[in-house]
Amino acid sequence: MDPATKSLLDPKAIARAEALGINARFVVEGYMAGEHRSPYRGFAIEFAQHREYAPGDDVRHLDWKVLGRTDRHYIKQYEQETNFVAHILVDSSESMAYGSSETTKFDYARAVAACLSYLVFQQRDAVALGLFRDDITDYLPRSDNRSQLFEITSRLAKAEAKGKTDVPEVLHDLAARIKRKGIIIIISDFFDDEDAVLHGIEHLRFQGHEVIGIHLVDPFEREFPFDGLINFQGLESIPDLKTRPAEIRQSYLEEFAAFEKKLKQGFTKNGCHLITAPTDQPLDDLLTTYLGRRQAAAAASVR
């Protein structure tokens, strides 16, 4: 039996995959049942057409502009793009293996990817999964079959965070590979050359894709709360560094904040969303926050 099959049949791997799936379902359905319930069920929501108001219709969807212009009552109808593909890219480089608590960035990334996959499948859309380091190491082609979710979670559960990262290279590669417009969701810490990363984002946008970045940040990476004498052992073959962290904390925070800011500005400039996801933030909060923001943005574009 080949190792790949064996790993697929590994009870622990199966358990992890199931756990991811269960968790994703739990989070997403929890979101769906929550206060942010919206008719805009799904990921990609666009206005399709008007129809005449019939008694019993939800008056929230009344097009007030049309009413004002024509004095006629019309209801907006929205069309979910039923054939969009969500390309979920998960950074599996060694830097993602860091975690100040039991949950590493990669664990969080896997959970986010699983949730998003579940959500997309709920909308009967397609999901493609890509795990990358300095290139795409594992790729699951698009599928709108819900049974694909298990395969997605299996791939995610099996993956390990190791090796160096090259986000820009992956983005360019993806831009060249994917012909049909879709949504590219990049789940990474983006510890790479920001300019190069943003250039990759630009390439994707040029191709017509919608890009969503989920920037994973460990709380310690953001706060740098260390004290005493620390020998920081670099991941991804970066040399160790000994220092007194308390004395350089301010400088580090400035550096990190500048990085986040540049990244954010770059994404915004390209019309993309960048969500900063601290790994200590509950997943449902993350989804709730982002999707609610997306819906508000979409509603604004309809008016």
């Binding site: 830097s95 510890f191 560094l241 308390a246 004395e247 350089i248 400088s251």
Partner: protein, 695 residues
């Protein structure tokens, strides 16, 4: 620069401690995997140089801090630094020996030059002048006790110290350094100054160091001993002067025994010894032909007092290097005549059978008369007319007689008690000894056996004339019956060959009592018919009759205390004999147990003095301790042991050899170092906090 605690400079090695801690800390880094190295690296690179510089600064400050602490403990001093505020505060205790031997010339070859005491004073002045400003001085003058004029508490008043030094004089005291040294050491121990030192200034005689071990133990760590004056090779001293005439009477020859000792290390020849009476030369001087080193010789001189009353005899030697022992005075009292009362316990029609027969004949002389009574006559007898009472085989006394005799003795009268076959030992033991405290012995049971007098232990002053073989041998005396005596605070005068006490003597009140454990007649002994009996009995009675010489003759430093009648004036004047009384001291009598006393404590100087509390006028003499005349010095072993505990300086003739400031260390720098340490500690604290802030 000098260091007062140079050994503590090894503490500088502690400077390596911060370096070692710094190096050890390099191994104490906690390992943490880290992903965001990019940002960390940039931050470190941006601040690395500054952090290194800060690290070096802190290390340097900490090393300097420890170095300064080690230096401060080593107590560096700069001799040429005159800053007064840097000078340490000293407490100096100076003990100056003012005993009789300090009056000797510092240089025996220059008898008229400075004395040892002069050298001592000058040394003290130089030492005190060299002290840093604000220092305190204790000044203790004394021989075996503190002399007036001392400054026993620390003072920084230079005028007070100078006045005390100027006023001080040598005394006739006998030196014993231990009381003064221990007091000075206690004073220094109680002080909390930066530097305490004891200086002992004395001469080279070993007598002052007779408590050598105790003195050594009492010396504080910083001690200096200054020996003044050269050693004296030749010295003669009058060590004793005694009046040997039993009943000193005016206008009768008085025999004086003068004892001269050669305390030097060279032999002396042809030594003239003269005798003054009441400060007037009298009689012909006698000559001691030769006196070897350490040898004593007693010679007899005679004089006559023209009038009864108090007189003083002074034996003189030619002046030598130690003038304090070249003369010695003796105060004594002569009477017009001496009357003795003999109480006969066995009166008889046959004179020879009475107990007092032999006594009466032995004592009778133109200047001594006797009155014989029986016990029944005693109550009516005026005892004040007599100098002494002899009880011869008296069975017991009635209450009135006992009272009167007790009062007689306590007010200065003498009592001699002879045993016999009729005495009631119970009465003498119970009443006279226990109840009255009159008899200093108790009588045992008679021992009837042939005994003789032990002549190997004739060391009591009463019987020393019989100690030499030139006198009649008391060993011939036969004792058929003896009542052994038990002495109670009494001196043994005679013993039997069985070592029983035969005769004992003790002062009682102002009088004196002698008890003899055999009869005064021939019933128990043949002593009354022995050739020695007459001089012996005259000596015996003479010792109790008249004034007690020990009341009027004192060793220097002993207070003169003499009871006076209640009717005497309370005003007391004491002045040197031959000097106007206005020169002397005035005081008042003190009352002790209801009795007024002349109490004169200023007996520091030898000489003859008059004490007057009208109608009482008497003479007393103060003499130096003969031991002070010894010229022996400390042994080499003692000097070596002393040198281990103290710095020794010898000043033989001139003070200029004592360098001022030989012990000054210059300005000590521990205080500015301490200030620097505190400042550095604050700087280190500030820098450490500042450098550890986030950048």
């Amino acid at each position: 620069m000098a260091f007062l605690n140079p050994l503590l400079l090894y503490g500088l090695a502690a400077v390596s401690v911060p370096v070692i801690i710094h190096l050890l800390n390099r191994r104490r880094f906690r390992k943490i995997p880290w992903a965001a190295m990019r940002f960390l690296k940039t931050s470190v690179q941006r601040n690395q140089r500054r952090m290194q510089v800060e690290d070096w600064i802190l290390l340097a400050v900490r090393c300097l801090l420890i170095a300064l602490i080690a230096l401060a403990f080593a107590r560096p001093a700069l001799e040429n630094l005159a800053a007064a505020w840097l000078q340490p505060r000293h407490t100096l205790a100076v003990v100056i020996d003012d005993s009789s031997s300090m009056a000797a010339a510092a240089d025996p070859a220059n008898p008229s030059g400075p004395t040892r005491f002069d050298i001592a004073l000058e040394s003290a002045r130089n030492l005190i002048a060299a002290l840093p400003p604000g220092s305190n001085t204790v000044l203790l003058f004394g021989s075996d006790r503190l002399s007036p004029g001392s400054i026993p508490e620390p003072t920084s008043d230079p005028s007070r110290i100078a006045a005390a030094l100027d006023r001080s004089t040598v005394t006739s005291g006998s030196s014993d350094l231990f009381p003064l040294v221990s007091r000075a050491a206690e004073l220094l121990d109680a002080r909390r100054s930066s530097h305490e030192e004891l200086v002992v200034i004395t001469d080279t005689t070993s007598h002052a160091w007779r408590q050598f071990d105790r003195i050594g133990s009492a010396l504080p760590p910083e001690t200096r001993v200054i020996f003044t004056g050269a050693e004296i090779a030749a010295n003669l001293a009058v060590t004793d002067l005694q009046l040997r005439t039993p009943f000193p009477t005016a206008n009768t020859p008085l025999r004086f025994d003068v004892t001269v000792k050669n305390t030097g290390t060279t032999a002396a020849q042809d030594i003239p010894v003269s005798l003054d009476l009441d400060n007037t030369a009298t009689g012909q001087p006698a000559t001691i032909t030769a006196l070897a080193p350490g040898e004593s010789q007693t010679l007899t001189l005679y004089s006559i007092t023209p009038t009864p009353g108090f007189h003083a005899a002074t034996a003189n030697l030619p002046a030598d290097a130690m003038p304090g022992d070249d003369s010695r005075s003796l105060a004594f009292e002569t009477a017009e005549r001496t009357d003795l009362l003999l109480v006969d316990g066995t009166p008889s029609t046959r004179a020879r059978d009475s107990s007092t027969f032999y006594l009466k004949h032995a004592i009778a002389s133109p200047t001594v008369s006797t009155t014989t009574v029986t016990t029944s006559d005693l109550p009516d007898t005026d005892l004040s007319a007599f100098s002494a009472i002899v009880l011869a085989n008296v069975p017991e006394l009635g209450r009135t007689a006992t009272d009167r005799i007790a009062s007689f003795v306590k007010t200065g009268g003498g009592l001699v008690v002879f045993a016999g076959d009729r005495i009631s030992t119970d009465f003498y033991n119970r009443e006279l000894h226990t109840n009255r405290g009159l008899l200093p012995v108790t009588f045992g049971d008679p021992v009837t056996a042939n005994q003789s007098i032990q002549t190997t232990t004739l060391d009591h002053p009463l019987v020393t004339p019989w100690a030499s073989s030139s006198q009649s041998d008391l060993a011939d005396v036969n004792l058929t019956t003896v009542i052994p005596l038990t002495a109670h605070n009494a001196q043994t005068v005679l013993r039997t060959n069985n070592s029983d006490i035969l005769a004992a003597s003790a002062p009682v009140g102002r009088g004196r009592v002698i008890a003899v454990g055999t009869s005064a007649d021939t019933t128990w002994t043949d002593f009354p018919v022995h050739p020695s009996f007459v001089p012996f009995f005259r000596h015996l009675v003479g010792a109790v009759a008249g004034s007690r010489p020990d009341l009027y003759n004192l060793t220097a430093g002993t207070p003169f205390r003499f009871p006076v009648p209640a009717s005497a004036s309370t005003e007391v004047a004491v002045y040197p004999l031959g000097i106007d009384r206005s020169v002397g001291t005035s005081s008042r009598t003190v009352t002790i147990d209801g009795t007024p006393f002349i109490d004169h404590a200023a007996t520091h100087n030898a000489g003859v003095f008059r004490a007057s509390s009208p109608p009482v006028n008497l003479t007393f003499a103060v003499h130096p301790d003969p031991a002070e005349a010894e010229t022996r010095t400390l042994s080499q072993a003692q000097l070596t042991e002393l040198a281990a505990r103290a710095e020794i300086t010898r000043i033989k003739t001139a003070v200029s050899t004592l360098g001022t400031g030989t012990r000054t260390t210059g300005a000590e720098l521990w205080l500015p170092l301490l200030v620097a340490v505190i400042a550095l500690a604050l700087i280190e604290l500030f820098l450490a906090q500042r450098f550890s802030r986030s950048k």
